[in-house]
């Protein structure tokens, strides 16, 4: 059971990572899964430079919106989202 959960969690982690890199080309993305459905995301992207935090976070959320939509979304919550350049 535990391994199955771990497997699911890790594939979502990869999906998040891929989705962000695809939207923000050249970004460095770290995703860690806390409890199931809860993630901490840290994104480093040079093009964040002239944007405020709200805009940076919006860009990241937009990239993963499809993973957060609906009642049974694989991503329930992003516990922490860090953006840096």
């Amino acid at each position: 059971m535990t391994t199955a959960l771990g497997g699911v969690g890790s594939s979502i982690t990869t999906q998040i990572q891929d989705a962000i890199v695809q939207s923000l080309p050249g970004s460095e993305v770290q995703v860690t899964c806390g409890s199931p459905g809860h993630f901490a995301i840290s994104v480093r992207w040079a093009e964040f430079a002239n944007k405020n935090r709200l805009s940076c976070q919006r860009l990241v959320y937009k990239a993963i919106a499809h993973l957060m939509a609906g009642d049974r979304a694989p991503v329930h919550a992003v516990d922490r989202l860090e953006t840096s350049v």
Binding site: Q57, R58, Y61, K62, I64, A65, A69, A77, V78, L81
Partner: protein, 312 residues
């Protein structure tokens, strides 16, 4: 999003200076992130508008599109979207939220903190180690004191709103809410069951039920056989097994306790330590400040202190 819902959201956002779209209400939040933001607003502004998205599924979906933000809670100040939990917390810590609300960050009085010699050298050692691992970063001791008076020590860099307290050669950092809870704090370094550890004592902490092990209880009973030790189990259970010197907590015993000085140490025990915890909490709520629950109860006593006391 239909036009009616958009207008409804427009009205909320335009007619109120501070609007929080959240799950549940500030009194009964239904999600930890919503609770965090409501807690921050409770501290900073007395009066703010909230919209419970769980009671209106149209708004729940529409607000995400409206703000172009996929999560709840969402905070609006003066018609502007501010962000979700993460951003609000960050802005609260660095003072930007105060500014957005038109408040001045409260001046925080410097708390007085005492650090024992042992704690002082242990903290310096930790700092030296952190510095040798990461020579470029700033390293200071951070003390965090939560609303529930859970204390945490860590090593961290300075943040803009930190309150800095110098004790000897050490600088301690507190975020403003922690600083308000810290006056009179003492930090010691003592031997514990798992080796030496920091021990923080905070006089601002409201009294709570303390836990005492059966070994410590045995030692206290050897020192003072008149200890106020109450057994919350039934007489029938006491007939099977009891600690010498304990008293049945019946009605007359309750009345007797109420006549005692509120600082008298009171000890409560039961079979495993659950029921006695409730009894201890009851007397705490009646103003007693020195209330102990015997951890593990009579069962732990038979296992660890006196095997002549039968287990059942």
């Amino acid at each position: 999003m239909d036009e009616a819902t958009r207008q409804k959201i427009d009205r909320e956002v335009q007619n109120h200076a501070v609007v929080l779209f959240m799950k549940g209400t500030p009194q009964a939040p239904r999600c930890g992130f919503s609770a965090t933001v409501a807690g921050i607003l409770d501290e900073l502004v007395g009066d703010y508008q909230t919209v419970d998205v769980l009671s209106d599924s149209k708004i729940r979906d529409a607000i995400k599109e409206y703000s172009d933000w996929p999560t709840i809670p969402q905070l609006y100040i003066k018609g502007e979207f501010v962000g979700g939990c993460d951003l609000v917390r960050e802005m609260y810590e660095n003072g930007e939220l105060h500014e957005a609300l038109g408040l001045k960050p409260d001046a925080v009085e410097l708390p007085k903190v005492v650090i024992s010699t042992g704690a002082d050298s242990a903290l310096r050692e930790a700092l030296a180690e952190a510095t040798s691992q990461e020579p470029d970063a700033g390293h200071h001791i951070r003390v965090e004191i939560g609303a529930d008076f859970q204390h945490a020590l860590s090593i961290s860099d300075k943040k803009p709103r930190d309150v800095e307290v110098s004790v000897g050669a050490l600088t301690l950092l507190f975020d403003p809410p922690s600083a308000r809870r810290a006056n009179g704090l003492s930090i010691d370094y003592v031997d514990g069951p798992d080796g030496p550890a920091f021990k923080l004592e905070n006089p601002n902490e409201p009294p709570r039920v303390k836990s005492v092990s059966v070994q410590d209880l045995a030692a206290k009973l050897r020192e003072n056989s008149q200890l106020e030790l109450f057994d919350v189990r039934s007489q029938k259970e006491r007939d099977q097994a009891q600690v010498a010197g304990s008293k049945l907590l019946d009605r007359p015993a309750q009345d007797y306790i109420m006549t005692l000085d509120k600082g008298t140490p009171l000890f409560f025990m039961c079979h495993h330590g659950q029921r006695s915890q409730q009894a201890a909490a009851f007397f705490l709520s009646h103003g007693f400040s020195n209330v102990y629950n015997v951890s593990g109860g009579i069962d732990a006593w038979s296992l660890e202190v006196d095997s002549n006391v039968p287990r059942y």
